[in-house]
């Protein structure tokens, strides 16, 4: 009956995938919705243009955390070019629930943070990534 809180969303919230810090991240990016206090830290480990490892930590509402769990599953093992083209609509599709305008920011937090991580990576150059761990906090 409640669209937003489908079992798999709650499952991702309770036991998020890819949760925890990475040891050797190429890029670390924090994202937050100051208005509601949702926050995540997203880390990517990029090797030879492929997102080999991905991890996130954070706290917030079920929608923001489940969305990060789903997103990290999706981009793991993908070439950067594919990750680049992963758009907001793709994430909404992954979530598979009706998001009201009031909750869109929660749903999009992981995606906005990913965009930030990707531009940070581009700025520092793909190979420079390796020693960028911890930057951007």
């Amino acid at each position: 009956m409640d669209d937003l809180y489908r079992d798999y969303i709650l499952e991702h919230y309770r036991r998020p995938h890819n949760f925890g810090p990475l040891e050797d991240a190429s890029v670390t990016r924090e994202g937050a919705n100051p208005l509601c206090g949702d926050r995540i830290t997203l880390q990517l480990g990029v090797v030879d243009g492929v997102v080999q490892t991905v991890g996130f930590t954070g706290r917030g509402c079920a929608i923001s955390q489940a969305s990060a769990s789903l997103l990290t599953d999706e981009i793991k093992g993908k070439p950067l070019a594919d990750v680049q083209s992963f758009g907001a609509d793709d994430l909404l599709e992954l979530l598979g629930i009706q998001i009201s305008p009031a909750r869109l920011k929660c749903a999009m937090l992981s995606h906005d943070t990913l965009r930030g991580a990707l531009s940070q990576l581009a700025e520092s150059g793909p190979e420079a990534g390796r020693d960028q761990a911890g930057a951007g906090i």
Binding site: L10, G37, R39, C61
Partner: protein, 432 residues
């Protein structure tokens, strides 16, 4: 078109009034005066627990707006014809009743503004820019709504003034011993909330004001959460500036008040300039109108002010002491019922209902306030989730956000019970 109730204590609620029984409000009967409380949300009856954000409106207020627009809509202070004179007298009559409601000595000391935020900005711009200089100290508190914080930040940045903050205890009381120390800095102004919109703390306004005056400071009190919920007497409180919003006290949006002592208002330069606030205008110079119009540039929100007059009549009919007793009783009931029936819940704010307004902030261990609010909405229960425009206070309490239930004259124990049931549902959903 007006509804003039006696501003007395007992007369309007005498035996015949079914809304008052044995000196107490009967919220179940009062509810019938509020059309929206008869509606449904998602097919279930509306349980409105967000009155601290904005209150619902009784029919008397809705009809006052309707009556103005249908019967005598005209600009005020201008037309020499019947409906304009009626509009002017309704508008000024409302001012007089609003002023009397907070026991202002004179109704010309009551400036009609759109809301508490505008009132504080008016003081910060007009009084603040004329009186605050480099190195001056303004004392605020950790409890403040952004409306009583950001205008002072702007002023301090512009003038090179310094802001100091009275810290709170973990329960949400102002630390009076630190306040006493801060007063030694000889602040020019002390500005604080009468009742906290987030924790419900009722601050000891009269005592704090006396201390401020002894230290040579003026006092501004944010009454946005007080005027709707307890008797307010600005003379007894002794304050210099007192502000409130009409929409939180059963009145329309776009209405509100700034009360200040006449000498202060007379010495203050105008805030906004234009029509209505002038006495004479030449191409190069103007002189100001007298109070209160000096501070009411342009066409005011006539209908909202008339509506607020009706709201004040309505509240007076109930009696503010009874309103306070009702909400105090309800907050005590809520704190107990929630703590007892919702395992693991965190409740914030003063535990003593006698020192707390009708505001209940909480967090569930298993769910973020946004999820809580969203799931409660499903069963028709409206609560607020977020920082309630008090980010520094949430920072102080080390909470990213809270959910908050808040009450008004029409709130009942059934509303609280619906909240408790809803919270138990949320727990069921979130526990695997």
């Amino acid at each position: 078109m007006t509804m003039t109730s006696e501003p007395g204590t007992d007369a309007p609620g005498s035996a015949a009034d079914p809304r008052i029984r044995d000196g107490r409000l009967v919220a179940e009967v009062i509810r019938a005066d509020f059309p929206i409380l008869g509606t449904t949300a998602h097919g279930v009856p509306l349980v409105y627990l967000d009155s601290a954000a904005t209150s619902q409106k009784p029919l008397a207020v809705i009809e006052a707006l309707d009556g103005y627009y249908r019967g005598y809509n005209a600009n005020v202070h201008r037309g020499i014809y019947d409906i304009s004179e009626r509009a002017t007298s309704a508008y000024e009559g409302a001012r007089a009743r609003i002023a009397a409601f907070i026991n202002a000595p004179e109704s010309r000391e009551l400036i009609n503004v759109r809301n508490a935020t505008e009132a504080i900005n008016l003081v910060a711009w007009s009084w603040g820019r004329a009186n605050i200089g480099e190195g001056d100290v303004i004392v605020l508190t950790e409890l403040e709504h952004h409306a009583n914080l950001v205008p002072w930040q702007l002023l301090a940045a512009e003038k090179g003034a310094r802001l100091e903050f009275i810290p709170i205890t973990d329960e949400g009381y102002l630390r009076q011993e630190v306040y006493a120390e801060l007063l030694k800095l000889k602040p020019k102004l002390v500005a604080f909330t009468h009742v906290s919109n987030t924790l419900g703390t009722i601050n000891p306004v009269a005592e704090m004001t006396a201390q401020a005056h002894a230290a040579g400071a003026l006092v501004l009190v944010d009454g946005a959460q007080a005027v709707p919920h307890l008797p307010v007497d600005v003379q007894a409180l002794g304050v210099d500036f007192y502000v409130f919003s009409g929409h939180k006290m059963l009145g329309p949006t776009g209405s509100g008040g700034l009360w200040a002592r006449r000498e202060l208002l007379e010495a203050m330069p105008p805030f906004m300039a234009g029509g209505d606030m002038i006495r004479t205008v030449t191409l190069r110079a103007s002189t100001w109108n007298e109070l209160p119009w000096k501070f009411e540039a342009g066409t005011p929100d006539i209908s909202a002010t008339i509506g607020l007059g009706a709201a004040v009549d309505y509240l007076t009919g109930l009696g503010m002491a009874r309103v306070r007793a009702h909400e105090q009783e309800l907050v005590a009931y809520a704190l107990e019922a929630i703590a007892e029936k919702v395992p693991g819940i965190s409740l914030y704010g003063p535990r003593d209902a006698a020192r707390r307004g009708g505001v209940v902030p909480f967090n569930l261990p298993e769910a973020h306030p946004h999820d809580v609010a969203q799931l409660l909405d499903r069963v028709g229960v409206c609560v607020r989730a977020g920082h309630h425009c008090t980010m520094p206070l949430h920072e102080r309490l080390n909470l990213p956000a809270t959910a908050r239930a808040s009450f008004s004259v029409y709130s009942t124990r059934q509303d609280v019970d619906a909240l408790v049931d809803g919270l138990r549902d949320v727990q069921r959903i979130f526990r695997s």
